[in-house]
C-alpha cells in the first residue's frame, strides 16, 4: 500500500463482537429498497447497442466534450467504490439494523455500474482520460469518506447526512435537470437509469437518518450539522460535481465550455445559467428538510458564482 497514511482512532482496532447476530431487527423502508435494487438491475455492457451507436452523428467537438464529461463522471463514481464501502464496515461495527447492512452491498454494486457505464461512454467517444488536469485535481479527487467512516470518533450519522442526504441529493436533482435537457436517446437512457439508482441511494440516507436521529444526543446532532456544512462548503461549492463552482483555471473553463457544447446538442449536460437555480433550489430544499425533519439548522452558504444561498 501507499507509504503515506493517516493515524486516527479506527474502528478496525476496536473489538467488534459479532454475536448475538440479530438479523430480524429490520428497517422495512430500507428493506424495500434492497428488494427494489435486486429486481431493478441493468447492465452497462448491453444497455446500449455499442456497435450500433453511430459516431458520425456527433461532431468532433461533441465527441471530445463527451469523452471529457464521462471521464469526469467515471472519476466521481469511482469514489463510491474506493471510499463508500467503508460505511458498510461501519454499519456492521455499529450493529445497525440488518436491512441497512444488506442494502449497502448492492448500493456499492450500483455505483460500480455507474463507473463502468461512464468509462464505456468515454471510451466510445474518443477514449477515457485517466486523470484530471493537475490544477483541477483538488476539486475531484476525494471527499474523505473512507477515513470518516472508519473513524470511531465520527458518528456514522454525520457521514451519511453529509454524503448521502447532501452531496448525493444535490447530484440527484442536477441529474434530473440534465436528463430533461437530453435528447440523444442513448445518453438520456443512461441518465434515467442512473437516476433511478440514485433516487434509491438518497432515499436510503433519509430513511436511515429518520431511524437514527431519535437516538442521537444534542452533541451528536451538532456533529451531523458540522459534517453537512463541511461537505457543502468544501466539496460541493469547490466544484466536485459542478465544474462552474470549481476554482477558476484552464481545466475548469475547458470543462464548462465542453458542457455548453453538449447542452447545445442535447447530449447530456447543462450550463452554469441553467444549473445555478437548480443547485440553489436543491440547497434550500435540503436546508428546509433537515430543519423540519431533523431539527438541524444549516447556515447560509456563499459562493462568488451564486452569492448567498
Amino acid at each position: 500500500m501507499s507509504a503515506a497514511s493517516e493515524t486516527f482512532s479506527s474502528i478496525l482496532a476496536q473489538p467488534t463482537p459479532l454475536f448475538p447476530l440479530e438479523l430480524g431487527r429490520r428497517n422495512p423502508e430500507i428493506g424495500k429498497l434492497f428488494a427494489a435494487s435486486l429486481t431493478s438491475q441493468w447492465n452497462p455492457a448491453t444497455i446500449i447497442d455499442w456497435d450500433g451507436l453511430d459516431l458520425q452523428a456527433f461532431t468532433a467537438e461533441q465527441r471530445q466534450a463527451l469523452r471529457v464529461r464521462w471521464s469526469r463522471r467515471a472519476w466521481g463514481e469511482y469514489g463510491a467504490i474506493s471510499e463508500s464501502p467503508a460505511l458498510q464496515i461501519r454499519f456492521c461495527h455499529d450493529r445497525l439494523d440488518a436491512d441497512t447492512r444488506l442494502y449497502f452491498s448492492i448500493r456499492t454494486q450500483e455505483e460500480s455500474r455507474h463507473a463502468e457505464i461512464s468509462y464505456r461512454l468515454a471510451e466510445k467517444f474518443g477514449g477515457y482520460i485517466d486523470a484530471p488536469a493537475e490544477e483541477y485535481r483538488g476539486s475531484v479527487s476525494s471527499h474523505g469518506i473512507r477515513r470518516l467512516a472508519l473513524d470511531a470518533d465520527v458518528p456514522v450519522e454525520s457521514t451519511i447526512a453529509a454524503l448521502v442526504c447532501s452531496a448525493e441529493q444535490i447530484i440527484l436533482e442536477n441529474f434530473m435537470h440534465v436528463a430533461k435537457l437530453t435528447t440523444q436517446p442513448d445518453i438520456r437512457r443512461v441518465y434515467q437509469l442512473i437516476l433511478r439508482d440514485e433516487a434509491r441511494h438518497c432515499a436510503f440516507g433519509w430513511y436511515l437518518m429518520a431511524n437514527r436521529l431519535p437516538h442521537l444526543s444534542a452533541a451528536q446532532k451538532e456533529r451531523v450539522r458540522e459534517a453537512v456544512v463541511t461537505m457543502i462548503e468544501q466539496v460541493e461549492l469547490n466544484g466536485y460535481q459542478l465544474a462552474w463552482l470549481a476554482p477558476d483555471n484552464a481545466a475548469s473553463r475547458a470543462q464548462i465550455e465542453g458542457d455548453r457544447i453538449l447542452w447545445r446538442g442535447g447530449l447530456g449536460a447543462s450550463t452554469e445559467e441553467l444549473e445555478k437555480p437548480v443547485f440553489i433550489a436543491s440547497l434550500r430544499r435540503i436546508r428546509e428538510r433537515m430543519d423540519s425533519e431533523w431539527g438541524i439548522s444549516l447556515p447560509k452558504f456563499f459562493h462568488p458564482k451564486t452569492g448567498e444561498i
Partner: protein, 304 residues
C-alpha cells in the same frame, strides 16, 4: 497484525485511474454475476418448503445447521467491502477485480437473507452459538485483516478467496447433493452458482499474479495459507469437527440429523473427506503456480 497498523489508513493515490480491463477471465465472472442477481424476498416461493415429515429433532438440528451457515455467510458483509477498499488503496490493482467484488458482496447479502429466512422456517433462526466458545472462531474480523497494511494482499487473496472459497464451494456442492427438501435445493443451487464464481475469482486472480510474484512474495503467500489453515480451518470454522479445543458433538449431531432428513447438510465424516480431497487438489493447483504448501498435520486427522 498490530494495533498501530490498524490505526492507520493509507492515503489513496487515485490518479492516474486506469479503468481498462486486464483479466478477461475475471471480467467474465463480473458479467456473469451481474446477470445472476436475484431477490430472496420476492423471487423464492417460501411456501414451497416440504417439512411435513420432519420430526421435532430434525427441525432443531436443521435450524442449528442453517443458522451457523448464516453466521459464516454474514462475515463477508464486512470483509468484502474491506477487501474492495484494499484493492483500491493499492496502486495498479485491476479494475475488473474491484467491480467483481462489488457484485460478490451483493451475492453474499442475498445468501445471508436467504439462509436467515430458511432458518426461520425451520423453527427460528438462532442469533448465536449455544456454546460461546464458537463465537471467537466465527468472528474472525477479516475486515481488519483485509485492511491491515502489514498483511500482503496477494496472501489474503490466496488464503481467503482461492483456497477458502474453493473449500466452501466443495462443501456446498455436497450440501446441495444431499438436499431433498425442495426449498433447500433451490437455495443451495443458488449458493453453489455464486460460490463457483467466488472460488473462480480467487484462483483466477492468483493465477494472474503468480508469475510476477518474487520468492519473498511467494513466501508471504505460503505464510498466509498456513496461517489460515491452522487458525481458521483447523479451528473448526467451516468443519466444526476439526476443532480440537471445542467439543463439537452437538454440531456434529445436528449435521447428521439434518443430512439424514435431506435438508442440505453433510455429516462430519463426509465433510472431513471433502476437506482432505480438496486440500490435495488445492495443493496441486498451488504447486502449478509455483507456490509450495508445506506438509501439514491436524492433531486428529494426522498428515494432510
Amino acid at each position: 497484525m498490530t494495533h498501530e497498523a490498524l490505526q492507520r489508513v493509507p492515503r489513496e493515490t487515485r490518479f492516474p485511474l486506469n479503468l481498462a480491463v486486464s483479466s478477461a477471465a475475471i471480467d467474465r465472472l463480473y458479467e456473469e454475476s451481474k446477470l445472476d442477481i436475484w431477490a430472496p424476498a420476492t423471487e423464492v416461493d417460501w411456501g414451497s418448503g416440504d417439512f411435513s415429515a420432519l420430526t421435532k429433532e430434525q427441525f432443531e438440528a436443521a435450524r442449528r445447521v442453517w443458522s451457523r451457515r448464516t453466521w459464516l455467510e454474514y462475515t463477508g458483509i464486512a470483509a468484502t467491502p474491506a477487501l474492495l477498499l484494499r484493492f483500491c488503496l493499492e496502486r495498479g490493482r485491476e479494475v475488473e477485480a474491484k467491480f467483481y467484488l462489488t457484485v460478490r458482496n451483493t451475492e453474499e447479502a442475498e445468501l445471508v437473507d436467504a439462509f436467515h429466512r430458511y432458518s426461520e422456517l425451520l423453527g427460528g433462526y438462532l442469533a448465536r452459538p449455544e456454546n460461546p466458545a464458537w463465537e471467537a472462531v466465527i468472528n474472525r474480523r477479516c475486515e481488519a485483516d483485509a485492511l491491515d497494511p502489514e498483511l500482503p494482499l496477494d496472501g489474503y487473496v490466496a488464503a481467503h478467496c482461492a483456497v477458502e472459497d474453493g473449500l466452501e464451494l466443495a462443501l456446498f456442492r455436497a450440501y446441495l447433493a444431499n438436499a431433498r427438501e425442495p426449498l433447500a435445493r433451490t437455495l443451495l443451487g443458488r449458493a453453489v452458482a455464486d460460490k463457483t464464481r467466488h472460488a473462480a475469482f480467487g484462483w483466477n486472480y492468483l493465477e494472474s499474479r503468480a508469475g510476477s510474484l518474487s520468492a519473498g512474495a511467494r513466501g508471504e503467500v505460503v505464510a498466509a495459507l498456513v496461517d489460515w489453515l491452522h487458525k481458521v480451518a483447523f479451528a473448526g470454522y467451516h468443519l466444526p469437527s476439526l476443532a480440537t479445543t471445542i467439543d463439537s458433538a452437538a454440531e456434529q449431531g445436528a449435521q447428521q440429523a439434518a443430512a439424514a432428513a435431506g435438508l442440505g447438510a453433510a455429516t462430519a465424516p463426509e465433510e472431513e473427506q471433502i476437506f482432505r480431497d480438496y486440500l490435495v487438489t488445492a495443493r496441486a493447483h498451488l504447486q502449478a503456480l509455483g507456490i509450495a504448501l508445506p506438509a501439514l498435520s491436524h492433531p486428529r486427522l494426522g498428515a494432510l
